[in-house]
């Protein structure tokens, strides 16, 4: 089957119609979040780590690490592994992804 | 449909972890998937969600499945949900078995994953066995009366009756006492917080709107004597006691009567004669009645007034209704003698205080206006039964607020009075907190005691003294001198509530109040179809909540009877004529007279009247030939379930 003729995406159309520019603040937040997520995922490559360990290694505050980690957990990118003695979970990359 | 044609789908719910944390749902699915007749077995996080129901619907609609097992929570919660889902998809809703693997499995066996999983498998297997012999059934449709019986003419009964009448439903309102109004009327001038309107005003207004509506028939001095029938078609026999009055009388008739008794309308703080006059302006009916138990038929009143007719006889009225609302109310808790000083002069209950304030516009102790009053809260409430001493374990909800209301009212009448509140917690929930605040602002003093050290009331000279350890002040023992001690008593189910529970076979909760099916899903429904509950017959509550619950009960009754027909579950008895030899053993077993002998061709056989049969199955063991069976739960189905439970044998 041949490729269907590429239609203009409706998002592109709306962008054009509204003469849309991504607000600077929003763009910055997206960039920052992406960077944090990338750092966390990199930390977890091939390892299991607690929030504390990730925070230390990536230089990001624990609460921020945890927030993004939980977001990624809900989006099936990471999963909890075993619980350490001090009540902290270790996390790892979701298997099979 | 016979066994071979049954294609069973099994759907196992995680209940978002409630089940799956304990039961290995994957294993359940795997095991029961092997059962003969099962064509699909799946698990899903929330079977009750739209998506979960859609799973069932899709399988039924495609024809892949024609019988369904859902293993989830209690059938009381979601059996109807899934039957409806099957119907929507064009399937037969009775090709269904609901397995409870939550309340009766995961929650009861938390921590025993193996045991719980085994049990879940066992139950699903039994359900599958049941369905292999299931047959499509259909509801029994019966015309419904477009009328409702409301039992109780208090606040709830009045509200519900008025709602129904306004919605175009015919209403029969039955009140035990000679006048409408119930407990709310007896609250009299006590205001309904936060609206500042006296309770009696509300009662009067409701009565005014109700009386004279053509949809409404009111029986006072009347009792529901017997109820038979079923949802949509209840036959009700009402006994109406004579008033012994044909009309009104001029002058103060009560004065001619020589008999005296405590006046219940004022909670016993005043006296009345055997002639009961309309207790308040706007009361219904506005003609007197005679308390015949007190009356010795001396005839003095008859001489004074031609309207008196002592020859009246009780009458029995029969009505047919589609639904019944029980609004039989509460009675105040009566403290035992000695309980918190009960019995000492100057110690009264909150209700007696209310009665006195209404009757006399004030209160006097030993002929003097009290200078100080102590309200003792939770008398007869919130007492744990462990020691066997306590009265009621529950909180009566309205008493804190009623006590504050009464205290403010008392202060209005006696501005200088000093008021102490001796309570455990002040439960002035919601907007009522403003009432608590107002009492403080006006100088009322609040003291709190703990359950372990209840206050004691003693007599010291001509004064009362309340001794209490105040937990707010290092538990020092306070000595509060008082002229008046008010015991803030809670609610208990009224005698009428107890009687109606007995007569209609309604369930009561551990607290004695009528039991709803589910506080959130079916808050005014009882286990018996077509019978609803409203107001304080169900639980202690205040005026606003009583009115809301009455309107809610009316809503349920209205949606039932406005349709004009009801559909009954098809689970009734039937007779396999080929096995019946008309021995009549079943007939004597049936408490509803639903079985009779009919001619079927050349011979006589038993036959079941489906509208009368309640589906109890009491006839089943009586039949020597197993000819009489319950539709939807035959002997064969039960036997199969028993056999399949342990995997067809002793070896399991």
């Amino acid at each position: 089957m041949g490729e269907a003729p590429r239609r203009e995406l409706t998002s592109e159309r709306l962008r054009r119609e509204l003469n849309f520019q991504v607000p600077e603040e929003l763009a910055r937040r997206v960039r920052e979040a992406a960077a944090i997520r990338a750092k966390i995922l990199k930390c977890l490559e091939g390892r299991e780590m607690t929030v504390r360990e990730i925070a230390r290694e990536a230089g990001i505050p624990e609460s921020v690490v945890f927030w993004h980690l939980m977001t990624m957990y809900k989006y099936n990118l990471v999963e909890p592994a075993e619980k350490t003695e001090d009540g902290l979970y270790k996390y790892r990359l979701k298997r099979g992804r | 449909m016979t066994g071979g044609g049954v294609r069973i789908g099994v759907y196992v719910c995680h209940c978002g972890g409630n089940i799956s944390d304990t039961v290995d749902v994957k294993r359940v699915v795997e095991e029961v998937g092997k059962e003969p007749g099962v064509v699909t077995a799946v698990d899903f996080p929330f079977m009750c969600s739209e998506a979960g129901q859609k799973l069932v619907e899709d399988d039924v609609r495609s024809g892949r499945v024609n019988a369904v097992v859902v293993a989830a929570c209690s059938p009381r919660l979601h059996e109807a949900t899934f039957r409806a889902a099957i119907s929507r998809a064009g399937g037969n809703p009775y090709m269904y078995y609901h397995v409870d693997i939550r309340e009766e499995c995961s929650w009861a066996h938390e921590g025993d994953r193996e045991g719980a999983t085994e049990k879940a498998i066992r139950h699903v297997r039994m359900a599958v066995a049941y369905l292999r012999r299931a047959e499509p059934l259909s509801k029994i449709k019966a015309a419904s009366e477009r009328s409702v019986l409301v039992i109780g003419g208090g606040l709830a009964g009045l509200r519900a009756a008025l709602d129904l009448a306004e919605a175009g439903v015919r209403v029969y309102l039955v009140e035990r006492s000679p006048f409408l109004g119930g407990n709310a009327a007896r609250l009299g001038a006590l205001k309904v917080f936060p609206y500042g309107r006296p309770a009696i005003d509300i009662v009067r207004s409701l009565i005014g709107k109700l009386v004279g509506r053509r949809e409404v028939t009111i029986f006072t001095n009347a009792e529901v004597e017997a109820v038979s029938g079923y949802i949509g078609n209840f036959d009700v026999r009402i006994k109406v006691w004579p008033r012994y009055f044909k009309g009104k009388c001029a002058g103060d008739l009560a004065r001619v009567c020589p008999k005296r008794a405590r006046d219940e309308f004022y909670f016993g703080v005043a006296e009345r004669t055997a002639i009961l006059l309309p207790p308040f302006e706007g009361a219904y009916p506005d003609i007197p009645a005679i308390d015949i138990n007190l009356c010795d038929r001396c005839g003095l009143c008859a001489k004074a007034c031609p309207s008196v007719d002592l020859s009246q006889e009780p009458q029995t009225v029969s009505v047919r209704v589609g639904a019944i609302i029980a609004a039989t109310g509460f009675r105040p808790y009566a403290p035992r003698n000695g309980e918190c000083g009960r019995g000492l002069p100057g110690v009264i209950t909150l209700h007696e205080l209310v009665g006195a304030l209404n009757k006399f516009g004030g209160i006097r102790v030993d002929g003097r206006a009290p200078e100080s009053a102590v309200f003792i809260y939770c008398v007869g409430s919130r007492q744990r039964r462990a020691g066997g001493e306590g009265a009621n374990e529950y909180c009566s909800r309205y008493c804190c607020i009623a006590a504050l209301d009464a205290a403010l009212h008392l202060r209005e009448l006696l501005p200088g009075v000093r008021i102490y509140h001796v309570a455990r917690d002040i439960r002035s929930y919601g907007v009522n907190e403003l009432l608590y605040e107002a009492a403080g602002r006006l100088g009322d003093v609040f003291v709190k005691y703990s359950e372990e050290a209840p206050p004691r009331v003693e007599r010291q000279g001509d004064k009362l003294v309340v001794r209490v350890r105040d937990v707010l002040t290092e538990s020092v023992e306070l000595e509060i001198p008082a002229d008046l001690v008010v015991l803030v008593t809670g609610m208990e189910p009224s005698d009428g509530t107890a009687a109606i529970a007995e007569r209609l076979k309604l369930q009561r909760g551990p607290d004695g109040f009528l039991q709803e099916v589910h506080p959130k899903l079916k808050p005014v429904e009882t286990a018996l179809g077509g019978i609803f509950i409203a107001g304080t017959a169900q639980a202690p509550r205040g005026v606003a909540e009583t009115l809301a619950s009455a309107s809610a009960a009316a809503a349920r009754a209205a949606s039932l009877v406005l349709r004009g027909y009801v559909e009954l579950e098809p689970f009734v008895a039937y007779v396999d004529a080929s096995k019946c030899n008309a021995c009549e053993a079943c007939i004597s077993e049936c408490p509803y007279g639903a079985i009779e002998i009919v001619r079927a061709g050349s011979r006589e056989v038993a036959s079941v009247n489906e509208a009368l049969c309640k589906g109890c199955g009491a006839c089943i063991p009586a039949c020597p030939n197993s000819a009489i069976q319950l539709r939807g739960l035959t002997s064969a189905q039960i036997e199969d379930m028993i056999r399949s439970a342990l995997g067809h044998g002793r070896s399991a």
Binding site: - | S372, R418, I426, Y436, R441, V445, F446, D470, L472, E479
Partner: protein, 368 residues
């Protein structure tokens, strides 16, 4: 313990406006910077007040530990104004410590207070009018108008009376609040030395109140201003009467400093109360106003006297002196033992007595 509904009414008169609104949540106690475990304020006092537990209230030293920062009132979820209650309790306690019954009159009747003040004023002014010496209109001659010896004698008489009254009241305070057995004499003395002087001279506890540095400074300035004046009057009156000194003379400097401090302190307090600038200054009792006004006027007349003296305006100076003394009399006689100013004694003593009670409690409980 028998409840007594009249106490709450009395305290209401003394300024505890909303206290029956209290529902005993304990926020005031937990928020109070001076509350500490074992010496919780103010909720316990609120309970005593509301229930009318007079004995308990009178036995309490805690009211003196409060410096009315107003945190409790600001945080009170019911608007019960516990700070005002503490103030009212202090007033109540002053009336209880005072055996003469005068402070009771002062606190309960603003009219009586005003009349007493006026009477003292008149008595002094008339006394000066009738008893003054030769009036030298050539130059300001204080010594001949009113010899320092006479004033000193009057001073000493008044001081002795006031001090004995205050001491008697302090002793009553001690009796009321004493809990536990007798202590060795040395303990009384060492604790007295350890607690009273430091607190008397610094009022450091007040600094524990959040955001109170300015209040503390103003309070201290007033107190020190008064202290300087006290020293000047008691020790150097003769010298002040006698001489005219250059501007840089220590006596003059001390006088200027004291006047400035008193004016600043009293002005600050009056301004604050008039503006209701803080919780503590929301509601003022008549005694508060009288005290501040007398203090301000006494200071102003003192300054005027000084001015007249150095401008050589004899008649004005003599009249001013009489008025000055007339104002000082009620300020001292009414306020020191019977009202507002008695706190200069009660506050440090309360800390001392509390410490003694602590030691007594410790003696009752053998240490582990």
């Amino acid at each position: 313990m028998r409840v007594d509904h009249r106490l709450a009414d009395e305290l209401r008169e003394l300024g505890a406006r909303n206290i029956s609104q209290c529902y005993s949540c304990g926020v005031c106690t937990a928020i109070c910077p001076l509350s500490e475990e074992g010496r919780e304020i103010p909720r316990r006092m609120v309970r005593y007040a509301v229930l009318g537990l007079r004995d308990r209230l009178e036995r309490s030293l805690e009211p003196w530990l409060c410096y009315y920062c107003g945190e409790c009132t600001k945080s009170c979820p019911r608007g019960a104004d516990p700070g005002a209650l503490m103030m009212a309790v202090r007033r109540y306690l002053i009336t209880r410590y005072d055996f003469t019954g005068i402070s009771r009159v002062l606190y309960r009747s603003p009219l009586a207070e005003a009349l007493l003040a006026a009477a003292l004023f008149l008595a002094v002014v008339l006394g000066v009018y009738f008893l003054h010496g030769p009036v030298n209109l050539e130059r300001v001659d204080m010594e001949s108008f009113l010899p320092a010896g006479v004033v000193d004698a009057a001073d000493i008489a008044v001081a002795a009376t006031l001090a004995s009254l205050l001491l008697a009241n302090a002793y009553r305070m001690y009796r009321l609040t004493r809990r536990g057995p007798r202590l060795p004499l040395t303990a009384y003395i060492t604790e007295l030395v350890k607690t009273v002087p430091p607190h008397f001279f610094t009022q450091l506890r007040m600094l524990k109140c959040r955001g109170s540095v300015r209040d503390w400074v103003m309070h201290a300035l007033t107190a020190y201003g008064y202290g300087i004046v006290f020293v000047l009057v008691v020790l150097f009156l003769r010298a002040i009467h006698a001489g005219v000194y250059p501007a840089a003379h220590p006596l003059r400097l001390a006088g200027y400093v004291a006047s400035a401090l008193l004016l600043a302190g009293a002005g600050y307090a009056i301004y604050g109360r008039a503006r209701r600038s803080s919780v503590a200054r929301q509601y003022s009792h008549p005694t508060d106003w009288l005290f501040l006004i007398l203090l301000l006027l006494t200071t102003l007349t003192g300054v005027a006297l000084h001015v007249f003296k150095y401008l050589n305006m004899p008649l004005e100076a003599y009249v001013c002196y009489a008025v000055h003394l007339g104002l000082a009399a009620p300020l001292l006689i009414l306020e020191v033992p019977f009202a507002k100013w008695s706190h200069i004694a009660y506050r440090p003593l309360a800390i001392y007595f509390a410490r003694l009670n602590e030691l007594r409690a410790r003696r009752l409980q053998p240490s582990p």
